[in-house]
Amino acid sequence: MKCIFRNKRISAILSVVPGQESRFDDERSNYNLTEEKARRMKKMMGLDRHRVAAPGVCSSDLCVYGLQQLLNEGTLKKEEIGALLFVSQTPDYYLPPTSNVIQGRLGLGHDVVCLDLNQGCAGFVIGLMQAFMLLDMMDADKVVLLNGDTASKLVDKHNRITYPLIGDAGSVTIIERCAEENPVHLCLKMDGSRHRALIVPGGAFRTPSSPETLKLVEMEEGVVQSLEQIHMDGAAIFNFTLEDVPPQIEEVLSYSGNSKESIDYFLFHQPNQFILKQMADKMKIPQEKLPNNIVGIYGNSSSVSIPVNITHNCGQQLQNSALRVCLSGFGVGLTWGSMVMNLGPLATCQTVDYEAV
């Protein structure tokens, strides 16, 4: 799918990360890794530290913390909100939708449309698409997009493949109408035939929760997981990222009339440093225009990785000026979506630590 959105802009982005840092070097003993293997893995994947939410802290808590801050500081007023979108793979409940729960917690009006979207790596791009579509149709001025994931609750501490890479985070993005045309170009593709490449196979209704789905199994040395945790076919995901994403970047650049040179930053989902370097090389994009540092600082926070990438790497710049950016999210689904837009100046563009209230 390809489309163009007009007369809409992002006006603020706030990322919220758990305050506590966990370091790869301290976790090494959980993984049965020799010092040499740990060193190799750290270097190749760009691991150092990541943020993991405390037990009892949900994705929604991180999002509410951020939304409350924007309301408190006056960046956003409750009565301006027309819709609340919550993109997550770690909701509070099977039902009701977490967006309704958040609406209630914040005391938002009954005219606010609440929607949960089950999306991961491409979830920021898809959330923006949904926000733009709602603004096209409704009379309210602003849509609030919440991205939240606590993947730490879907992986085992003793899994050296998944645990070191993940990070928990939430973000709040305000999308609003604007007088300028400000075109946003989107290219989006999905391939459900490859849905098993990244999956939590058990615990829902296809394979309901049971002692069997909860059993922790050591798949290989240092790789412990249950059927209710994330299973990733690393090689399949790697090939997908290198085969399917670069052509989409080319497509969205030509669709929007841009060249690689006219884009200031390529702000991509952050699975790990290795794959992002490969992508940059393959697309002949200078490494400094395609940041790859987020996994080693915060961890891969699924749909929140693009907002965290934006606020961490371009926060200062975007509070003062505008940049032309290419966003791209790719992974679970499989789903891959890329957008080109002018971003900034933003009322807020920063990363804050979550503190339990």
């Binding site: 190749m44 690393g234 090689a235 790697f238 090939n239 290198l242 085969e243 090389d281 393959k282």
Partner: protein
């Protein structure tokens, strides 16, 4: 395909000085999931081919791997 060059690149991935075509990949300490990803990346970036994980699993020696990459180039 320049085979000696391929073996040299493979040796770098396996963190050894040199590699014989008949070397069995599984015998190397470093032949793990990270090495497999590195081989997939090497095949893509230097040889312009995509290797599937299941194809790598059926490979035994360094020469088998070289042959697999070369066959894909044709």
């Amino acid at each position: 395909m320049n085979k000696p060059e391929f073996y040299q690149r493979l040796a770098e991935i396996l963190d050894v000085d040199e590699l014989q075509p008949e070397s069995v990949l599984r015998d190397f300490d470093e032949w793990d999931s990270l090495a497999v990803l590195s081989v997939l990346a090497l095949a893509d970036s230097k040889y312009g081919v995509t290797i599937r994980a299941e194809e790598i699993r059926s490979v035994v020696t360094a020469a088998d791997l070289a042959d697999l990459v070369e066959a894909k180039q044709k």
